[in-house]
Assembly symmetry: C2
Homo-oligomer: 476 residues x 2
């Protein structure tokens, strides 16, 4: 750390400190440490300085000074990202800018169904504020207790509610962004329709802080569903799950709010390793689906819909068995079963992860081809497949062979990734459906995306951040 | 025309002609004429050459030659745009590139619910192809019989179905774009989730052909509604219409597929001037709403929903009177009443038009303030207000005073625009909700948008079209 600290001039550090005040400029190693490592421990960066500005104006002044002095800045929200976008590099010359103190909900507009919120607001806090106003803010994901809205937008977060409500991008009507120069781009609009020039908003969303810093946003709110039903279904095949999805979409339309696919392995591992996990179905199946129906009309309506769908699915032998949660507690237990899958998989040893999407119709083909491709490059490795099937998005994570060695298996990370991603590309899919690019997939993106796309992205980056100080080394 | 033709070197013209073949390179004044004027006659450009390429490869070669020779190119679809984006300038040195011959529907994927379509496909042709495949393509607007999908995307078209299904941007999953250099950016994906780098797709959508030429797109399809009901409602005030919208949204959610506001003047003018228009309600009201409910479940379900909403609205005295169409024919007659409003207004003399949006909650305030602002700058002028209230989007068109003079009134175009747009800006609205910027609003956009936004748009333009040959003089 001593060496790293030297890479920022003490006089410059002092100028940054003066902008936010001594209390909010972290310089001691033990204070800075939590901002340098991310949850999975894949990246560990260095930095002599973490700034915690308390206003948009302070963010603006920080970036103005950064531009003047060509100091690289790494914006950080709740530090829950999975691709290393929020972690500084190891050089020790990058300043971390934490948005945590910009945590005000500026306005809830019940008539326009919008909320104006600062970047540092924790997702769960926003969900609760919406609920208290008798509204739903639908974005929902595993890290919601600590991730922040600014990070959700910068990574275009997905999660379990995308099927009916869209991802972070779809939920955002307007943004406020501090540009690398310190200028503030105020586009905090509540409009559903606005065709006045280029769509700048969507450039900043999903840019992982490489084009500017999102400091606030206008987000959509929705009516709270009046009825919600959760079912757990056992199915003979992934093809049957695809047919069930078609049937459920057709009957429920926008009321189908979740359709999560779970393979037999993650199901079994959860029963084996997750403390307190309750077996959802008495019989065993090759595939399972967690399905949720939310009705804007009534509890009875939701119940009627889900019974109707499951009845038709059982009759058509798409579903082999099914259970509908009989209480709120049971519904939560079923969702909990879905949410602990990644944790339960850990007990089976090292794993190689993927966050892919393909056209929904290609899901069964993807599973078949990817399983074969993995077996070829890593015999005995165990594909653990689950994810947001309704969005075409699977977390296809490979556990090492049952009797294998963690380190030897992880040495194959790149080979296994390449094999799976080759199948993805063959099906015109995406190698990062919802987690983003960050540091993790930057080289692969550049190597495998069409050169025209990479060239256009580089032109955007150069146009918005000509000095290259905005989260350098990420995305592109 | 002779002078104009001289501004392109004959040898260069010949090189362009050779790319598409003699038949598809229009050079005679009478062949070119339909491409130079737009429907309302506000702009009339000059050009010595209209190219009608028959493949993406030909579009690519045209742009390659245009870049080599710095020849400006104006892409054109169905030539129905309302802001002059598709019309060349008067200099005679711009080549018009018509996408009409790129008119194949490449694929309909019923499992993924997508259609891959070329830019020159006419909107209504696509609607019909979707219907024949038992699907809905929801984009719907007055010009649908002649406008083309490429133009719809390039202008991010709106229309009457945005409320439930979104605008053209929301309906698009992937694009194929020929860049100014002739390179092809192939991003024809069917994915709901894809976080691999910057969102380039949304830059091209709504850019009015100033960044590249959209040659094909992947669009979303939806299940055909199983029941549809249309009602016409009379209301005492715009505030009552806002409350009715809240009530209908709450009860119907995504099944509320249209909520169109109609003022008393356009209602009366339609009864006066539109041949065959049938009076929807026996009593007269200050405001009217055309409301549509589409059910994915059944005809009975749609009927039950709309009766439930209207019953509650009448009881709460939000609605004064209401009629539900009793047949498909009656439903079409009510929709027709809405669609002929702009035409009926013409009989009342010259009008000054606006295509604005504000947060939905601000609609009544907008109407009150805009009426007052117009009366101040143009006493006796008659605001004719109607539009897509559910999207916050009104076509607020001012007819000249009843006993006024057309030319004298139109001389006030700018003054009246300024007065109305000042109210829009005060309510954080948009001066172009769905028609775009083109030539019509370019100067005003540049003069009134935040300088930071204009600067960012100029950087995007320079990054994508450094030679400035891509539809110059439009948007920015």
């Amino acid at each position: 750390m001593a060496d790293a600290a030297l890479s920022l001039d003490p006089g410059l550090v002092q100028r940054f400190v003066e902008i936010v005040g001594d209390r909010h400029a972290l310089r001691a190693a033990e204070d800075i440490a939590p901002y340098l490592a991310e949850p999975r421990g894949l990246w560990h960066g260095h930095s002599p300085l973490v700034l915690r500005p308390g206003s948009v104006e302070e963010v603006s002044r920080i970036m103005g000074l950064a531009t003047e002095t060509r100091t690289p800045v790494v914006p950080q929200g709740g530090n829950t990202g999975l691709v290393g976008a929020q972690v500084p590099d190891e050089g020790g010359g990058q300043v971390v800018l934490s948005l945590s103190r910009l945590n005000r909900i500026r306005e809830i507009d019940l008539l326009s169904n919008t909320v104006t919120v600062e970047a540092g607001v924790i997702l769960q806090t926003l969900q609760e504020a919406a609920a208290n106003a008798d509204r739903l803010f639908p974005l929902s994901l595993a890290a919601q207790g600590s991730c922040q809205i600014g990070g959700n937008l910068s990574s275009n977060a997905g999660g379990t509610n995308v099927l009916a409500y869209g991802n972070a991008r779809d939920l955002c009507l307007g943004v406020e962004v501090v540009l690398p120069t310190g200028e503030v781009f105020d586009d905090l609009r509540k409009l559903k329709k606005d065709n006045t020039g280029y769509d700048l908003k969507n450039l900043f969303i999903g840019a992982e802080g490489t084009l500017g810093i999102i400091t606030a946003a206008v987000l959509k709110l929705f009516p709270k569903p009046k009825g919600r039903e959760v079912a757990f279904v056992g199915l003979p095949s992934a093809e049957a799950a695809l047919s069930l999805f078609g049937l459920a979409s057709d009957r429920a339309g926008g009321a189908l709010t979740a359709f999560e696919l779970i393979g037999r392995r993650p199901y079994d591992y959860t029963l084996l390793h997750a403390a307190g996990a309750v077996r959802p179905l008495t019989s065993d199946w090759n595939w399972y689906v967690l399905m949720e129906i939310s009705s804007g009309r009534s509890a009875e309506d939701a119940r009627g819909l889900i019974e109707d769908i499951l009845g038709a699915a059982l009759e058509a032998e798409l579903a082999g068995d099914a259970v509908i949660a009989a209480s709120l507690g049971q519904a939560e237990a079923l969702w909990n079963f879905r949410e602990v899958l990644p944790e339960a998989q850990k007990a089976e040893g090292a794993s190689i992860k993927h966050d892919i999407s393909v056209p929904i119709a290609s899901i069964p083909t993807f599973i078949e081809e990817a399983d074969a491709a993995v077996e070829l490059v890593s015999p005995g490795a165990r594909p653990v497949c689950f994810g947001h099937m309704g969005d075409g998005n699977l977390h296809y994570n490979i556990s090492r062979p049952a009797d294998g060695d963690d380190a030897a298996f992880l040495a194959q990370y790149r080979i296994v990734n390449d094999a799976v991603h080759k199948v993805v590309r063959g099906l015109h899919g995406s190698i990062s459906a919802e987690h983003g690019i960050g540091q993790l997939k930057r080289d692969e993106l550049i190597a495998t995306a069409p050169p025209v796309a990479i060239d256009l992205m580089r032109r955007v980056k150069a146009a918005f951040d000509p000095a290259g100080i905005m989260n350098p080394g990420k995305v592109i």
